[in-house]
């Protein structure tokens, strides 16, 4: 019946004329549509225009052409890069979800000692941008001269133990970065499932593993699928890792091709725009599947009014071993690269030879100029502002999509998800084209970046809060509605607190995304709105990786402190 109800809404008469839909709801959806369209559809629209046009927008003498698309899709040149891109996405998506699910399960469902501490530690790889991780792992595992390989040779090993310049290396580095995303995405849904669900299964004689396989995983299916899809797309659109690690071994991906078209002259933004549409089809069909799955939304509701004390699974003999396993995992994925970054940040240049003369504080001194301080301030303002606004907007969008019946809400879902499929660098071009003649002196200010970040990252807020919202019974909302509470009041008093943890996850995620966002920012910033990420990005070219290492150490520290306080703040949930 739930399915039927959802079906009705999809087919409903136009929301604007449907008397069954309240006027305020219609206005809300109209406003949302307008906002999301402005944030997402305008830049994406410019990109499509660019893909189909012979010149950049506003260039006289341009004409409609299929040439760009034909170059990308109808020549054999890009078949291998495309397949490589998809393969990277698929591997990273699958591995991240496996790791993330396992970690989330350990932290939320089992009697793991000090689970709260682990929860904070396991998220750390998210704080480092993929670019920094790639550089750190290069220092660790470059053939011959990487620290790991140097130690290996000292121990008498022959050749190189690890080679980061490989398909496996790319997948590894991206998985290190994205597995914690899966972990973050799945924490909320995993936690929301009442222990009774597991207890019921256990009583019926099913073992822990069996319970996970037959009960937990199916219940989490939409969340897991959404997470895998998102990470697939993120990994596939990532340019830094395959560009830095793949070039040496001849691995080409679509984003690393796009990098050439946009960073080096002669630029070809139109071709880049064409290539940028590549993942859109994959992602939108993924979202279609996700929507089919969540149509039967009531199936996944786990927070009714029922009590639940989670963390009921006894690990048994594994309990004392679990922290060591996690520690080992953390050491490999974050301890070593962080150590490499920290060590590297005190080096004049990276070298496998250890020597006092290599050490310097110059990299940190570099940060003390006025530009960096301005960039710090801007990044913090943007991070906090964009994370807050986008999370709120994301929740409202997801609420409209999942909890109201106005038509057009499905469209909202698709539109808000589009930017994730478009490589950031290309999206940046679309945003440049779209926003360059914004009125009121917005162009060149922080506001443009705020708008750009909201558009680019809205999808994450929608998904993360959506994962949490789906776990909350619609009846909790309806109960308030029947008692006379309007939508705003319900959002504030019922929905926000109930999806609080999801909003927290979303906020942190967005904050980190914003802090690290550089590919679109380099096209949109100005001297007054310069961000930390741009400073780091440019410092790579200006001084080499070492100064960037120092920046990312500081950035990681800031993020950690901030996230810690946000968690402390948000952790005070009484129920």
């Amino acid at each position: 019946m739930e399915l039927a109800r959802e079906g009705f809404a999809v087919r409903a008469r136009s929301a604007l004329f449907d008397p069954a839909v309240r006027r305020s709801h219609r206005l809300l959806v109209l406003a949302l549509m307008a906002l999301v369209t402005m944030l997402v559809l305008v830049p994406v629209g410019f990109l499509f225009f660019g893909a189909l046009w012979s010149e950049a927008p506003r260039v006289p003498g341009g004409h409609l052409t299929a040439g760009n698309l034909a170059t990308i899709y109808a020549t054999s040149t890009f078949v291998v890069p495309l397949l490589t891109t998809l393969a990277i996405g698929a591997w990273v998506g699958a591995l991240s979800v496996v790791v993330g699910t396992l970690l989330a399960w350990l932290v939320t469902r089992t009697d793991l000692p000090r689970a709260g501490l682990w929860e904070n530690l396991l998220v750390i790889p998210v704080y480092l941008s993929p670019l920094m991780l790639a550089l750190a792992f290069t220092a660790m595992a470059a053939p011959r001269v990487g620290f790991i390989n140097v130690v290996w040779q000292q121990l008498g090993g022959a050749g190189s133990l690890a080679n980061v310049y490989s398909f496996a290396g790319i997948v590894f580095v991206l998985t290190v970065h994205y597995a914690p995303f899966a972990f973050l995405y799945l924490l909320g849904p995993m936690r929301a499932i009442g222990a009774d669900v597991e207890e019921a299964a256990t009583v019926l004689g099913s073992g822990s593993f069996e319970t996970i396989r037959r009960i937990l995983l199916p219940m989490l299916a939409p969340a897991i699928f959404a997470t895998a899809l998102m990470i697939f797309t993120l990994a596939a659109e990532n340019f830094a890792v395959p560009t830095l690690l793949g070039r040496q071994s001849g691995i080409r991906t679509i984003p690393s091709e796009i990098y050439f078209w946009l960073v080096y002259e002669p630029v070809n933004p139109n071709l880049a725009a064409s290539a940028g549409t590549m993942l859109l089809v994959v992602t939108l069909s993924g979202i279609f599947v996700y929507r089919r799955m969540t149509r039967v939304a009531s199936r996944y509701v786990t927070v009714g009014g029922k009590p639940h004390s989670t963390r009921s699974v006894k690990l048994g003999w594994f309990r004392p071993l679990a922290p060591w396993t996690l520690a080992l995992y953390l050491l490999a994925t974050i301890g070593l690269p962080l150590a490499a970054l920290l060590y590297g940040s005190f080096l004049r240049y990276i070298s496998p030879r250890l020597s006092w003369s290599l050490l310097t504080l110059a990299n940190y001194r570099q940060m003390l100029d006025a530009d960096s301080l301005l960039a710090f301030r801007n990044s913090l303002v943007l991070g906090i502002g964009a994370a807050t606004l986008t999370t709120l907007l994301g929740l409202i969008v997801t609420y409209t999509v999942h909890r109201t019946r106005v038509s057009g809400r499905g469209l909202l879902d698709y539109i808000s998800a589009m930017p994730i499929a478009i490589p950031g660098m290309v999206l940046g071009v679309g945003m440049l084209w779209a926003y360059v003649n914004l009125p009121f002196g917005i162009w060149g200010t922080l506001w443009v970046l705020l708008i750009a970040y909201m558009g680019r990252f809205l999808v994450h807020a929608v998904r993360v809060t959506g994962n949490s919202l789906l776990q909350i019974s619609a009846e909790l909302d309806e109960a308030a509605q029947v008692l006379g509470a309007g939508m705003v009041r319900r959002l504030g008093g019922i929905i926000f607190p109930l999806v609080g943890r999801g909003m927290l996850s979303s906020w942190i995620l967005l904050f980190i995304f914003v802090l690290n966002e550089v590919t679109a920012t380099v096209l949109l910033y100005s001297s007054r709105s310069i961000t930390l990420s741009v400073v780091v990005w440019n410092s790579l070219d200006m001084y080499g990786a070492m100064v960037a290492f120092a920046y990312s150490i500081i950035q990681t520290a800031i993020t950690f402190v901030l996230v810690y306080f946000v968690f402390r703040l948000g952790g005070r949930v009484a129920w």
């Binding site: 506003r58 080096y264 004049r348 496998p352 100029d369 360059v436 096209l523």
Partner: protein
Amino acid sequence: MWKYISRQEGNVKATWAWMAAPLAALLVAATGPAVQAAGGLDASKQWVAENVPGLPAGLVEAACKDGKLMLYHLVFRGKLADLIASFTKTFPCIKIDTYMASGGPLQTRFTSEWRAGQAGADVWMNSSPPFADKISKEGLLLNWTPPNDALVPAHWKRSGYWYGIGLATLGFAWNTKEVTPAEQKWLESVKTWDQIAKAPFKGRSCMVHVRAGGSAQLPYYYLLTTYGIQSWKDLKENLEPSIFSGAGPLADRLAAGECVYAPHVTADTAVATRWLQKAPIRWTFPEPGLAISYLMGISSKAAHPDAAKLFVAWSLSPHGQSAWVNSTGLAPMSKQATDRRKYAKESWYRLPGDYYPTDWDKMEKALKGMNTQFKDVFGQ
């Protein structure tokens, strides 16, 4: 009573005096900069009269009226602080704002803004002569010839539109700690480009991808047009090089010793940066010199056109050329500049005598075919 008042009067006067002193000081302080600026304007004018005599009278005043300058510049080693300080010391009435990006984003950003009618850049920089020519033709760059135009060699400018400020010169570089004395000897003996592929560094070499901008394309282009495709195949067969997406990552890995030898790379920029950080690196410029000039032009929609003109004229002056060379690390493009770069003082450092006269248009047109050939030879 009167007495009392008169005494008071005296006190009042004294009070006035007390109050007037700081007030006067404040006034002096407030007018001080103005006085100084007036002096600055005179000094500025005098500098122009001495160094760029042909500059129209009144340009300095007009530029000061603009008061500001938006400079869109390429990414250099370090900030342009020294250069800007040097300019504003002579012209204190102009404040320089900057936007920094690599060549591609600079092109996209500048053209997008220009076409949307946004007054973005006043002075725009790039490293692609063909692109600068193209937008000159379209009217994006202001057609203006500074009176000291002649100070820039013809090959590094398009008179009336854009002017070079320094050269990114190509050379081969190596890690001095990772080569044997014999190899070092061999490296020191290399003088011309046809020798670079004969280096004994099979599997320990690295190169930049042909698509990583004009300075990456130039050596490939030169080799191809001078020695034919075999020269590329020699590189592949003799060196089995790792290919990097840009000079920056390559220089990092060269410093780390991951690769030992880079047959061609923009040495004075990326590689020299690591040298300055004391990495064991050295480089040589074979003959003929291969270089790409970093160039600048004035936007035809500049919001501060007079300040922009003054900046360009200053940049072409010997003083300006020296400032550009010494703050960016680029090689001087003319004898006008005084080269005070640290590595230029090293005994092993020698700039090429002659520069190869690259036909930028031809080179850009060749890129598409070169991409394919690159893929065939180097597998990517």
